[in-house]
Amino acid sequence: MNQSLNRRRLLATAALGGLVGATGLGSLAPEAAFAAEAVTVEPGAPDPNFAEGRISKVSGNMLLVTGSDTVLHSIRITNGTSIWKLHPTTFDQVAVGDGLYARGVRLPDGTLAADSVWVNIVNLHAHIASVGRNMLHLDHKGQRIVAHVVPGRSAAVYNGTPAVSDMSLLRVGRHVQVLGAWHPDTNEISIATVYAAA
């Protein structure tokens, strides 16, 4: 805990500009920065540095994932891996049965060293069929999806304006894009962000 606090204090101090003991200063010309990463996968082809599927086993810092096309993936979680499950979270929140998308670097042994893992993330385009206490009933391609508002987590973006926690402007019958976390093996999700047109 202290280590984590110290680290955060260090990072916060650095971000606010009160720097101690810094020795280097690199230039960051836009052209140099924008050329930093080149994607080399052929258009239309599968990306070896990407994986998707359901988690079948969690072992140490490894996730064994069965792809939807039945291919198995071993995914390594490192200190630098970001884990999203409704919000940025930690490895201990990941469970067997969760679905995921992962991006990272494929190692020579076939393992994917993950930079980012998005657990149970879904991006739905749907209509609001009805609303209940802290929930939306969505019509999504003929399926009824129950989308739960999670106080303190869920956000709404109305026509591109800054995100707010207030969901009360959502209207029955309107079209929405909902980014959320699926509850495995159910028709329910928790809402991360609702995008609503004006």
Binding site: R8, L10, L11, A12, A14, A15, L16, G17, L19, G21, A22, T23, G24, L25, G26, S27, L28, P30, A33, F34, A35, A36, E37, N79, G80, T81, S82, W84, P88, D115, S116, W118, A129, S130, V131, G132, R133, N134, M135, D139, K141, G142, V149, G152, R153, S154, A155, A156, P162, A163, V164, S165, D166, M167, S168, L170, R171, V172, G173, T193
Partner: protein
């Protein structure tokens, strides 16, 4: 009573078929409706719209014949056949192309649901009943106007209740009214993390370091008046953390600052802060 019910069925069937034909023949969105329907899967992309239009023509013709005298048993048989065809098609659509649209009574994208199937079943039953009628609907209605009107209203209400296409006219307003009265989504407060992330992404500081970022948001915390958001990144060939500082009280993107900190040594390798200027956003590299 059963005679009245049977005699009125051509009126119900005719009204539903003409309403359905109206969408297929005269709606500006008919092409979209056809292309969203399972006809694309059944007949192919090129034949979906012509088939949709032809079906509309058949519905209009049969609907007009059902409404106009004389009342012929053949019309009832044809209507039953058409309704059985609808039922078979909708069953096929639900099984083979569940995300396709019904294309039935509206050009709106409405997937085939249990209600659509029940409505087709109701039309089949109406067709069978119509075949049992001894006279025209106008005769039955003239003989027993009150009972006839009640039957008609009840049956049309059932058709409306079984038509998801018509929900926007009655069900959704009712649900909106309930939501307006009960305010089930009230109570959201506070600044969501996304607001800080949006502010960061609007900043030029973010655009400058974005290509270095390797991960999504890895950690975030509030401290004093600021919210801090960290990403894993690579800079000068080493793993680093890019940490953004967002003042909670200042929504301007120019208020966002970022530092790139070496994960191994804790050294600050780079620090950028936006400086608000009327001439446009500029970035200052703060000596570390």
């Amino acid at each position: 009573m059963i005679e009245v019910l049977a005699a009125l069925q051509p009126l119900v069937l005719g009204a539903v078929l003409i309403w359905s034909a109206r969408v297929k023949l005269f709606s500006r969105r008919a092409a979209a409706a056809a292309n969203r329907s399972a006809l694309v899967r059944l007949l192919g992309q090129d034949r979906a719209l012509p088939a949709y239009r032809v079906l509309g023509g058949v519905e209009l013709t049969l609907g007009a014949l059902l409404l106009a005298p004389p009342a012929l048993r053949l019309e009832a048989i044809a209507a039953t056949g058409l309704a059985v065809g609808f039922l078979a098609y909708l069953t096929y659509a639900r099984r083979v192309a569940p995300t396709s649209s019904c294309g039935c009574l509206s050009a709106q994208p409405i997937p085939v649901s249990g209600r659509s199937l029940a409505r087709a079943g109701l039309l089949v039953a109406a067709g069978v009943l119509a075949g049992l009628a001894a006279g025209g609907w106008w005769t039955a209605l003239a003989a027993r106007p009150l009972a006839g009107a009640a039957v008609l209203l009840a049956e049309l209400a059932l058709v409306v209740a079984l038509s998801p296409e018509l929900d926007a006219a009655w069900l959704l307003p009712l649900r909106r009214l309930r939501a307006w009265l009960t305010r089930p989504l009230r109570g959201g407060s506070g600044v969501p993390l996304l607001a800080a992330v949006q502010q960061i992404q609007l900043s030029d500081a973010y655009r400058r370091v974005a290509p270095l970022l390797r991960s999504d948001v890895r950690e975030h915390w509030d401290d004093g008046d600021g919210r801090f958001v960290g990403h894993a990144a690579h800079y000068q060939g080493r793993p680093v953390t890019a940490v953004f500082a967002v003042p909670l009280a200042d929504p301007e993107p120019d208020a966002v600052r970022v530092a790139v900190v070496d994960d191994a040594t804790g050294e600050t390798l780079l620090s950028l802060a936006g400086t608000p200027r009327p001439a446009g956003p500029r970035l200052t590299v703060v000596p570390a």
